[in-house]
Symmetry: C2
Subunit: 117 residues, 2 copies
Protein backbone atom coordinates (compact mmCIF):
# COMPACT_ATOMS: atom_id res chain seq x y z
CA UNK A 1 0.00 0.00 0.00
CA UNK A 2 1.92 2.98 -1.31
CA UNK A 3 0.82 6.58 -1.56
CA UNK A 4 -0.31 7.60 -5.03
CA UNK A 5 1.00 11.17 -5.14
CA UNK A 6 3.47 11.72 -2.32
CA UNK A 7 4.91 14.97 -3.68
CA UNK A 8 1.46 16.47 -4.09
CA UNK A 9 0.50 15.46 -0.56
CA UNK A 10 3.74 17.04 0.66
CA UNK A 11 2.77 20.34 -0.94
CA UNK A 12 -0.85 20.19 0.24
CA UNK A 13 0.00 19.46 3.87
CA UNK A 14 2.78 22.02 3.79
CA UNK A 15 0.38 24.65 2.49
CA UNK A 16 -2.02 23.80 5.32
CA UNK A 17 0.67 24.01 7.99
CA UNK A 18 0.50 27.79 8.27
CA UNK A 19 -2.16 29.70 10.21
CA UNK A 20 -2.25 32.57 7.71
CA UNK A 21 -2.82 30.26 4.78
CA UNK A 22 -5.54 28.28 6.56
CA UNK A 23 -7.31 31.56 7.37
CA UNK A 24 -7.14 32.51 3.70
CA UNK A 25 -8.79 29.22 2.77
CA UNK A 26 -11.58 29.92 5.25
CA UNK A 27 -12.09 33.24 3.58
CA UNK A 28 -12.16 31.61 0.15
CA UNK A 29 -14.78 29.16 1.36
CA UNK A 30 -17.18 32.09 1.33
CA UNK A 31 -16.48 33.06 -2.23
CA UNK A 32 -13.99 34.43 -4.68
CA UNK A 33 -11.47 36.91 -3.29
CA UNK A 34 -8.88 39.22 -4.77
CA UNK A 35 -5.30 39.09 -3.49
CA UNK A 36 -5.88 42.41 -1.73
CA UNK A 37 -8.99 41.11 -0.01
CA UNK A 38 -7.13 37.99 1.07
CA UNK A 39 -4.24 40.08 2.39
CA UNK A 40 -6.33 42.67 4.23
CA UNK A 41 -6.93 40.82 7.54
CA UNK A 42 -3.23 40.25 8.18
CA UNK A 43 -0.63 42.48 9.77
CA UNK A 44 1.79 41.70 7.00
CA UNK A 45 3.13 43.33 3.86
CA UNK A 46 1.09 42.93 0.72
CA UNK A 47 3.98 41.09 -0.92
CA UNK A 48 4.18 38.72 2.04
CA UNK A 49 0.52 37.83 1.75
CA UNK A 50 0.93 37.44 -1.99
CA UNK A 51 3.61 34.82 -1.36
CA UNK A 52 1.22 32.87 0.84
CA UNK A 53 -1.34 32.90 -1.95
CA UNK A 54 1.31 31.56 -4.29
CA UNK A 55 2.02 28.67 -1.93
CA UNK A 56 -1.70 27.83 -1.90
CA UNK A 57 -1.82 28.12 -5.67
CA UNK A 58 1.19 25.90 -6.25
CA UNK A 59 -0.30 23.28 -3.97
CA UNK A 60 -3.37 23.42 -6.22
CA UNK A 61 -5.62 24.53 -3.36
CA UNK A 62 -6.44 27.80 -5.06
CA UNK A 63 -6.97 28.81 -8.66
CA UNK A 64 -6.33 32.25 -10.02
CA UNK A 65 -8.33 34.23 -12.55
CA UNK A 66 -6.92 37.52 -13.78
CA UNK A 67 -9.37 40.28 -14.65
CA UNK A 68 -7.65 43.49 -15.56
CA UNK A 69 -5.26 44.44 -12.81
CA UNK A 70 -7.08 42.32 -10.25
CA UNK A 71 -6.28 38.68 -9.56
CA UNK A 72 -9.22 36.71 -8.25
CA UNK A 73 -8.73 33.45 -6.34
CA UNK A 74 -11.12 30.65 -5.78
CA UNK A 75 -10.93 27.52 -3.70
CA UNK A 76 -10.08 24.23 -5.39
CA UNK A 77 -11.48 21.74 -2.93
CA UNK A 78 -10.44 18.68 -4.93
CA UNK A 79 -6.98 19.01 -3.45
CA UNK A 80 -8.37 19.24 0.06
CA UNK A 81 -10.23 16.05 -0.71
CA UNK A 82 -6.89 14.38 -1.41
CA UNK A 83 -5.62 15.34 2.02
CA UNK A 84 -8.87 14.12 3.50
CA UNK A 85 -8.55 10.82 1.66
CA UNK A 86 -5.12 10.31 3.18
CA UNK A 87 -6.44 11.01 6.67
CA UNK A 88 -9.48 8.81 6.15
CA UNK A 89 -7.26 5.75 6.28
CA UNK A 90 -6.83 6.44 10.01
CA UNK A 91 -10.47 7.11 10.67
CA UNK A 92 -11.00 3.75 12.34
CA UNK A 93 -8.54 4.80 15.04
CA UNK A 94 -10.67 7.62 16.30
CA UNK A 95 -14.30 6.93 15.41
CA UNK A 96 -17.09 5.02 17.10
CA UNK A 97 -15.71 5.52 20.60
CA UNK A 98 -12.92 3.03 20.12
CA UNK A 99 -9.86 3.92 22.08
CA UNK A 100 -6.57 3.86 20.23
CA UNK A 101 -5.35 0.66 21.82
CA UNK A 102 -8.43 -1.20 20.72
CA UNK A 103 -8.08 0.14 17.18
CA UNK A 104 -4.47 -0.93 17.08
CA UNK A 105 -5.46 -4.42 18.10
CA UNK A 106 -8.04 -4.39 15.35
CA UNK A 107 -5.44 -3.30 12.82
CA UNK A 108 -3.21 -6.13 13.93
CA UNK A 109 -6.05 -8.59 13.55
CA UNK A 110 -6.73 -7.37 10.02
CA UNK A 111 -3.11 -7.74 9.17
CA UNK A 112 -2.99 -11.27 10.55
CA UNK A 113 -6.03 -12.03 8.43
CA UNK A 114 -4.32 -10.82 5.26
CA UNK A 115 -1.20 -12.82 5.99
CA UNK A 116 -3.24 -15.91 6.54
CA UNK A 117 -4.62 -15.78 2.98
Amino acid sequence: MVEQHPVILDSIFHALSDTTRRAMLRDLAEGERSIGELAAPFDMSFAGASKHVKVLEQAGLVQRRIAGRTHYCRLNADRLAEADAWLRYYERFWTRGLDTLEALLRAEDERAGKMGK
Copy 2:
Protein backbone atom coordinates in the same frame (compact mmCIF):
# COMPACT_ATOMS: atom_id res chain seq x y z
CA MET B 1 -15.36 31.43 13.34
CA VAL B 2 -11.79 31.19 14.58
CA GLU B 3 -9.56 28.15 14.81
CA GLN B 4 -9.32 26.71 18.29
CA HIS B 5 -5.70 25.56 18.29
CA PRO B 6 -3.83 27.15 15.42
CA VAL B 7 -0.35 26.35 16.69
CA ILE B 8 -1.23 22.70 17.18
CA LEU B 9 -2.72 22.50 13.68
CA ASP B 10 0.46 24.09 12.34
CA SER B 11 2.54 21.34 13.92
CA ILE B 12 0.20 18.54 12.86
CA PHE B 13 0.03 19.59 9.22
CA HIS B 14 3.73 20.26 9.17
CA ALA B 15 4.41 16.77 10.51
CA LEU B 16 2.20 15.35 7.77
CA SER B 17 3.93 17.32 5.01
CA ASP B 18 6.84 14.88 4.69
CA THR B 19 6.66 11.58 2.80
CA THR B 20 8.96 9.79 5.25
CA ARG B 21 6.87 10.79 8.23
CA ARG B 22 3.60 9.81 6.57
CA ALA B 23 5.11 6.41 5.76
CA MET B 24 6.08 6.02 9.42
CA LEU B 25 2.50 6.71 10.44
CA ARG B 26 1.27 4.05 8.02
CA ASP B 27 3.67 1.65 9.65
CA LEU B 28 2.44 2.62 13.11
CA ALA B 29 -1.15 2.01 12.02
CA GLU B 30 -0.29 -1.68 12.08
CA GLY B 31 1.03 -1.65 15.62
CA GLU B 32 3.72 -0.48 17.96
CA ARG B 33 7.17 0.00 16.45
CA SER B 34 10.64 0.69 17.82
CA ILE B 35 12.64 3.59 16.42
CA GLY B 36 14.87 1.09 14.65
CA GLU B 37 11.90 -0.63 13.04
CA LEU B 38 10.52 2.72 11.93
CA ALA B 39 13.89 3.74 10.51
CA ALA B 40 14.62 0.48 8.68
CA PRO B 41 12.70 1.10 5.42
CA PHE B 42 14.47 4.36 4.69
CA ASP B 43 17.76 5.04 2.99
CA MET B 44 18.70 7.49 5.68
CA SER B 45 20.92 7.62 8.74
CA PHE B 46 19.45 6.27 11.94
CA ALA B 47 19.79 9.68 13.55
CA GLY B 48 17.95 11.25 10.64
CA ALA B 49 15.01 8.90 11.03
CA SER B 50 15.06 9.50 14.78
CA LYS B 51 14.59 13.20 14.12
CA HIS B 52 11.52 12.47 12.01
CA VAL B 53 10.07 10.47 14.87
CA LYS B 54 10.69 13.42 17.15
CA VAL B 55 8.73 15.70 14.81
CA LEU B 56 5.82 13.27 14.89
CA GLU B 57 6.07 13.04 18.66
CA GLN B 58 6.16 16.80 19.19
CA ALA B 59 3.10 17.16 16.99
CA GLY B 60 1.42 14.67 19.33
CA LEU B 61 0.84 12.17 16.51
CA VAL B 62 3.01 9.56 18.19
CA GLN B 63 3.59 8.57 21.80
CA ARG B 64 6.75 7.02 23.09
CA ARG B 65 7.18 4.26 25.65
CA ILE B 66 10.70 3.45 26.80
CA ALA B 67 11.48 -0.14 27.69
CA GLY B 68 15.11 -0.67 28.49
CA ARG B 69 17.22 0.63 25.67
CA THR B 70 14.37 0.36 23.18
CA HIS B 71 11.90 3.17 22.53
CA TYR B 72 8.51 1.99 21.31
CA CYS B 73 6.16 4.32 19.47
CA ARG B 74 2.46 4.10 19.03
CA LEU B 75 0.03 6.13 16.98
CA ASN B 76 -2.03 8.83 18.68
CA ALA B 77 -4.92 9.21 16.29
CA ASP B 78 -6.67 11.91 18.31
CA ARG B 79 -4.36 14.43 16.73
CA LEU B 80 -5.11 13.14 13.26
CA ALA B 81 -8.77 13.63 14.14
CA GLU B 82 -8.04 17.30 14.77
CA ALA B 83 -6.60 17.67 11.29
CA ASP B 84 -9.60 15.82 9.91
CA ALA B 85 -11.97 18.10 11.80
CA TRP B 86 -10.33 21.11 10.19
CA LEU B 87 -10.68 19.58 6.73
CA ARG B 88 -14.26 18.53 7.38
CA TYR B 89 -15.34 22.15 7.21
CA TYR B 90 -14.64 22.01 3.47
CA GLU B 91 -16.35 18.70 2.91
CA ARG B 92 -19.40 20.29 1.30
CA PHE B 93 -17.14 21.56 -1.49
CA TRP B 94 -16.27 18.12 -2.72
CA THR B 95 -19.01 15.69 -1.64
CA ARG B 96 -22.29 14.59 -3.16
CA GLY B 97 -21.27 15.28 -6.72
CA LEU B 98 -21.44 19.01 -6.31
CA ASP B 99 -18.94 20.82 -8.39
CA THR B 100 -16.89 23.49 -6.69
CA LEU B 101 -18.71 26.38 -8.28
CA GLU B 102 -22.03 25.14 -7.05
CA ALA B 103 -20.65 24.69 -3.53
CA LEU B 104 -19.27 28.21 -3.57
CA LEU B 105 -22.68 29.53 -4.52
CA ARG B 106 -24.16 27.55 -1.67
CA ALA B 107 -21.61 29.03 0.75
CA GLU B 108 -22.52 32.50 -0.44
CA ASP B 109 -26.18 31.76 0.10
CA GLU B 110 -25.50 30.57 3.64
CA ARG B 111 -23.56 33.71 4.32
CA ALA B 112 -26.34 35.91 2.99
CA GLY B 113 -28.71 34.01 5.26
CA LYS B 114 -26.56 34.72 8.33
CA MET B 115 -26.29 38.38 7.50
CA GLY B 116 -30.01 38.61 7.09
CA LYS B 117 -30.61 37.54 10.71
